[in-house]
Symmetry: C2
């Protein structure tokens, strides 16, 4: 069987996430599987690097699927982009080793979170940024970001209920940059728990607003209690930015 | 009476334009008038620099209205931005001379048209750009743009049916610049007929695709016949960019 790897960009605004239990229609996965199944004449199941929640976007989600179809990768990409909804686009395609698995082989991921700042909001981008009208102390946020770096138990920064699996993760990189009227928060780590990026962002915003100190990050880690971290920032500012493999 | 001038940004994607005969609900004008009428307790009618069609956006539409309300301009702006839909934003506000009229006093206007180019579309911006997958010869488009400059009878470049009013207009500036994966077409003129920018853009695209020569612009002008110009480019790429007053 051929193993095809796709790089997919999607605007998550009108979908119930990458995959949702019980929802076999309005998810990005089901839209993609429908087109691939029609193309091949067989039921195709795709494997993604991970799920994204309702309203979350992707600039480069990685997906793979197996097929015996006799089409070039270029033809497959053209077919997909012709029949997929316009807010889901196959950006890249390559044939990979049959052992490649988009989820198991993912070594690390980057997420971007976009915050719109400034006294006046914009009429555009409300589905792609989170507008924070309050003044944000970027230096305090950057200092707090440095405390997130390294390996920690991120239980307090997740909505994981069960304690059976490890909640330890490592963050390699945490950058906050100002781009015109936006703050861009970039997180690169070996894995992310459910809602982890959005809870880190919600906490960093509260620090930027002066409601918490940068050092409070340490106490949140130590407590391992979700309630001690900040609110979960809304989905629309979050983008799966890049997935890294060996 | 106080005369208040507003600078308004809006995402036209889900509206039936600035104003639509018979539609008293889903237009940008009616959304704005509703909020201002609730604010003042009186029926407010606003005057805009001009209408925009369904799906067309504005970065700086200019509007004025009269009121006796005892609120500062800053308070009025805050009230509007609190109660307007999030895709309509009051960016600027100032109190102006009572003789100021947003339509009659407008001396010239700038429009921006955004074309998405490249072999692969993007999942984002489909409501804010027009995607043209074909190769576009930008130099040919720029040459054609230079023939649009100056004063001409733009009848062939409009969907104006009646011949009672003058269809002569002057274009001062026509720039085409490449910004990453987009072409930005900027038109500055003393006035624009209905659909004029979109028909000029549709014609320029056909020239970029090699279906027409830059010099064909002269023949289109001479013919004064709509059918000789190119197609009307879709609304979603068009932005009212700036309105100039004395």
């Amino acid at each position: 069987m051929r193993n095809i790897k796709l790089t997919i960009e999607y605007d998550g605004a009108r979908y119930n996430g990458w995959q949702k239990l019980g929802d076999t229609e309005n998810t990005i996965q089901s839209k993609l599987e429908k087109v691939l199944s029609e193309m091949t004449g067989r039921k195709i199941e795709v494997i993604a690097s991970g799920r994204t929640d309702s309203g979350v976007h992707a600039l480069a989600q990685i997906v793979n699927f197996k097929t015996n179809i006799n089409m070039s990768t270029k033809e497959i990409r053209r077919y997909c982009n012709q029949y997929l909804p316009k807010d889901i686009v196959v950006k890249g395609i390559e044939e990979v080793d049959e052992r490649f698995h988009a989820r198991y082989n993912a070594k690390s991921k980057k997420y971007l979170y976009r915050i719109r700042i400034g006294a006046i909001p914009t009429a555009f981008n409300r589905k792609y940024t989170y507008y924070v009208p309050n003044y944000l102390d970027i230096e305090a946020m950057q200092k707090a970001g440095s405390y997130l770096l390294g390996e920690h138990d991120f239980k307090a920064f997740s909505s994981v209920k069960s304690s059976k699996k490890s909640t330890s993760r490592e963050i390699f990189e945490m950058d906050i940059t100002k781009e015109e009227n936006e703050l861009h928060l970039l997180f690169h780590g070996n894995g992310f728990l459910h809602n982890m990026v959005r809870i880190m962002v919600g906490t960093l915003i509260e620090i930027g607003e002066g409601k918490r100190t940068p050092e409070s990050i340490k106490d949140i880690f130590a407590s391992k209690t979700r309630e001690n971290a900040g609110v979960t920032a809304p989905a629309q500012g979050l983008f799966l930015y890049e997935v890294f493999y060996d």
